[in-house]
Symmetry: C2
Subunit: 208 residues, 2 copies
DNA sequence: CCAAAAGTGTTCTGACTACACCCATGC
DNA sequence: GCATGGGTGTAGTCAGAACACTTTTGG
């Protein structure tokens, strides 16, 4: 039996939800795009393999990473069983590999190229799970830098949910839930009024 | 790589949440109890294996069955990877095998024997998932017969959530959500007023 | 003075909670 | 007539949704 791990790595970039894909340089499906992944190494746990893959592709490791679902018989893939994980990263912290052979690149989830190995199924499930988790957990911490403005945070929610949110209701909710707190510092950016900087009260996943 | 499937089969019996366990007749862990499961057969999908295991042990097949989580390195088990499923059955429809070698039996979840292969971890996750699903899906359909009284349905909720529920609020909620409808028929049982029989509007899992 | 983003309150509605009594039946 | 479970209504509270204007800043 052949087991592989794939990782759906999400980020928010330019106000859009993006996912990391890799252009396959080898057969099968050369030239198509696919989620980063690969076989388990000897003695490696599945979670360990997901952590490794994530770090390989983005250089980050202390982020939200969770098992998503286990598939079998995906397309014409080599693996019989594929354990999918999903991760959330702040795009500013990532350094993508500049590999000629296996090019990684961010793709807006609303405008994907054709994918290999039925990766669409995995992505659809991951996106749905992400949307759900936004509502009842603090996972958004993993998509933002240490300090951020409420407007930036709201932008992340809007990018993922795909619809505008009322500013005042949003502020009330997130502050009221206690997932963030004021730092007391402000940031000026361009010709704007300075904005209060916030931080997360917890950088571990918490169910609200 | 060695892959196994296990199935957490829940039912409600005597007002308590129960799970189906099997006493192991073979090494390793002979004499301990464990969740039903086993290796994948040749050419079988993981979902197919879960369906087969469920049918083997209970005789039912048209019930709620969903993938739960994928574990690795569980205890001293034979399999490297264990894909866990969970199922909900109406105890009245089941026929347990009367096997001398592999005795299956219902166990109240609040009073379990020692389990093999860290099956406690799987059970804890399954129970939590079940409680969550009760709140936002109609999965309870799979724990009740075709026709039932509201009191019976409420008893199932109370058994799973482990706390009493107000009768009037419960009725308002489930009827208001539209997950059940009146059949127009009533049932008399003992020295009681006849009770309206209800049925589920859908016997497929539905997210509310 | 203008453009751009930050910040701020109130009202309405629907959902959930808590709570107590009468009814139909079989024995 | 009594024990058993079936059935019903109301008031209070809270969370979420809708909604528009003023402030600070840099250019």
């Amino acid at each position: 039996m052949n087991i592989a791990v794939v990782v759906v790595i999400f980020t928010v970039r330019n106000g859009q939800l993006n996912v990391l894909l890799i252009e396959r340089a080898a057969e099968p499906c050369r030239g198509e795009w696919a989620l980063p992944g690969g076989a388990l190494r000897d003695g490696e746990s599945i979670h360990g393999a997901a952590v490794r893959k994530l770090a390989d592709e983005t250089g980050v490791s202390d982020v939200f990473l969770e098992q998503l679902y286990t598939f079998d018989r995906l397309g014409a893939g080599r693996a019989d069983i594929v354990v999918a994980y999903f991760a959330l990263v702040d795009v500013e912290r990532t350094r993508l590999r500049e590999d000629l052979e296996w090019r990684p690149a961010w793709h807006p989830i609303r405008n994907l190229p054709p994918l290999a190995f039925e990766n669409e199924r995995i992505l659809a499930l991951a996106e749905q799970r992400l949307r759900n988790k936004l509502e009842y957990t603090n996972v958004v911490y993993s998509l933002l830098p240490e300090r951020f403005t409420l407007t930036e945070m709201q932008g992340v929610y809007e990018a993922i949910l795909g619809e505008p949110i009322d500013k005042r209701n949003f502020r009330r909710r997130v502050v009221g839930l206690g997932i963030i707190r004021e730092t007391g510092q402000t940031r000026k950016r361009g010709a704007h009024r300075p904005a209060m900087l916030y931080e997360f009260t917890s950088r571990e996943p918490v169910t609200l």
